[in-house]
Subunit: 110 residues, 2 copies
C-alpha cells in the first residue's frame, strides 16, 4: 500500500462520485436507524440513547470519510467491506486500484 497511485481527472471525478454516494447511503441509514429508535421506544429517555448514537456516528463519519488521495486507497476498501459501496461502483477510478482493493478484500475474507 506504500505504492503511489496516480489519479487522472476522470478517475478523480469517479472517486468523488463514489465517495459521495457512500456518504449519502450511510447518512440515509443513520437517519433510518434514528427514526426506528424513536418509533420503537415509547420511553422518552430514548432521546439520550439517540443522542449517544448520533454523537458516535458523527465522530465515526468524520473520521472515516477522509477524501485525501493519500488515504483514499484505504477508505474505499473499507467502504466496500462495510457494504456502502459495491466494488464495481469504483470501476472508474482505474483497474490498477480496484485490483488492489480486490486483493485486500479477499485477504479480509480469509
Amino acid at each position: 500500500m506504500s505504492r503511489d497511485f496516480t489519479w487522472s481527472p476522470s478517475q478523480k471525478k469517479a472517486a468523488r462520485a463514489a465517495f459521495d454516494l457512500a456518504v449519502a447511503r450511510e447518512l440515509k441509514a443513520i437517519r433510518q436507524h434514528a427514526e426506528t429508535m424513536l418509533k420503537d421506544n415509547k420511553e422518552d429517555r430514548v432521546i439520550w440513547k439517540l443522542e449517544e448514537y448520533l454523537y458516535e456516528k458523527r465522530r465515526e463519519i468524520d473520521q472515516k470519510y477522509d477524501y485525501r488521495y493519500s488515504v483514499l486507497m484505504l477508505v474505499f476498501p473499507r467502504l466496500v467491506h462495510e457494504g456502502w459501496l459495491a466494488l464495481d461502483e469504483l470501476d472508474g477510478i482505474g483497474e490498477e486500484k480496484t485490483e488492489v482493493f480486490r486483493k485486500l478484500l479477499d485477504l479480509n475474507r480469509k
Copy 2:
C-alpha cells in the same frame, strides 16, 4: 435567597414529584421536537442538526435539573418560568417557599 428553608418529609416528597413531573414533560417535548425535525426535513443531513440539538439539550437538562435542596429554591422558579411546572403544582412544598417563587416570578415579569 440566602435564607435557609426547611423541608419536611412530605414537602420533600412533593418536591420530588414536581421535579420528576417537570423532567418528564421536558423530555417529552424534546422527543417531539426531534420527531418533528426528522419528519419535516427530507435532507438526510438533518441528523447532524438533530445531533447538535440533542447534545445541547442533554447539557442543558444535566445542568438545570439539580436536586440538591440548597439549589432547589432556584430550580423551581426557573421551571415555572419556562412553563414546565405550574406554580400550584408546587403547593405541597410549603407556602413559605411558593411565596418566594411568586415574588421572584413577579419581578421577572416586570
